[in-house]
Symmetry: C2
Subunit: 248 residues, 2 copies
Amino acid sequence: MSHVSTAPDGRRLLLRLESIADLTAEERQAVLDLPLVVRSYDAGSDIVRDHDRPHECCLLLEGYAIRHKLLPDGRRQIMAFHIPGDIPDLESLHLHILDNSVGALTPVRAAFIPHRAIREATQRHPGLLHAFWRQTLIDAAVFREWMIGMGRRTAHERIAHLICEMLLRLEAVGLAPEGTYLFPATQNELGDALGLSTVHVNRVLQDLRKQELITWVRSVVTVLKRDALMDLCAFDPTYLHQDHGTER
Amino acid sequence: MSHVSTAPDGRRLLLRLESIADLTAEERQAVLDLPLVVRSYDAGSDIVRDHDRPHECCLLLEGYAIRHKLLPDGRRQIMAFHIPGDIPDLESLHLHILDNSVGALTPVRAAFIPHRAIREATQRHPGLLHAFWRQTLIDAAVFREWMIGMGRRTAHERIAHLICEMLLRLEAVGLAPEGTYLFPATQNELGDALGLSTVHVNRVLQDLRKQELITWVRSVVTVLKRDALMDLCAFDPTYLHQDHGTER
DNA sequence: CGCAATATTGACCATCATCAATTGGCGTGG
DNA sequence: CCACGCCAATTGATGATGGTCAATATTGCG
């Protein structure tokens, strides 16, 4: 069921890029002119797969996606949770073989943009290039932060850190009013993302609830004590590079 | 003791970029024309620090460097081992605040290239831009692979995987003849890179030696049974993206 | 109402961390 | 040349974090 995108879909990417870099009027127009083909996916299905050689990038419009990889024996590592506005396979623009899969965590609507169109737009508009490149660098910074978590943080710290990260990322796109947001991941998926077992995720979550730091009911997370939660995991938001305006 | 670079230093970057992307004659010349300022560092010293706002990038000429980050309580995560030809802070080109430090693992000679010079060269030469961007994407792919290790691989697999990775990366620049290469990391540093304690690294290493898979004497690693070692950790080199020529 | 997926609990256990010595290699000053 | 000192490697003993297995609730949903 692919079809050409309607107006609001086209703005999703623009909003994201403007949160990353300042764009000129022509650059904004060039983003809106990018050709989009929209497709829908069921929860649990793969959008692109490890070792694919895609010729387009996938812009998440609605729903959440995961970047993940399976080991030959079935162990799984989830490497990122992607939210609307993300482009989980942006690197395919310059890395021709994918080294991970992207799957739909929930039902997903995604817009596909041909590599060629992005290349042409970025060649004509250096500001766009800057924004796209910067996005891939921010993704990499998040990977590094997750490495710290899995290598050196306790289970409590890891889970708290992820909750803080999702809070800030979703707030940045207006999807976390009053410290509440949707996080449709099962405890099993959380474990695969954090390097923990499902059982242990469950116990830590109960503990965070008992401490009244958070509430997590059926995919709805509420951060009750923001400062205490951030203290618990020594959260430093620098790595999200959310303040492109002031950080120079 | 900084000084302007001599001829062979200038070629180091060219070699790396040519291993990443095909360059035209003008692009090659543009790389050689980049202004370099060379500085030397003692082992253990920091080259750039977390939260710095650098205006230049650091090209490793000689020696090994680590990308690392300290938690407030002293725990450390090493996020990458960098070898000659690497640019450990390339992302500073578009991310203005560093979110990790880069330290000299051994005595290091490094060449600094002003951001402005790189920006001008990449604006004039799209092929160069492609190569630099691609390099940052390959770095990110390595981060993802390390995440898999720390999240889902056993200590044996993690160590074996790192040994394989360094082997392939160093072979690519001619620094690992006959399966032998220099890896001047202490067991403590290996632990901080892999999310393990020093003691446990020691024990696993002894075990790999007992199995006659490797030899590791005073920073000199020799891979004795390459296939067996790769089997042990299900090593798949795709993520290193070393074959830019054939992979299209 | 009943299946299927998730969450939760309990019991037990393994990997790996921690702590504390001890050993070995190697550079330095006498 | 040798003793000292330092750093890294190694070993042993003990323990904790978090994994595994299996059973039992819950909840969503058709």
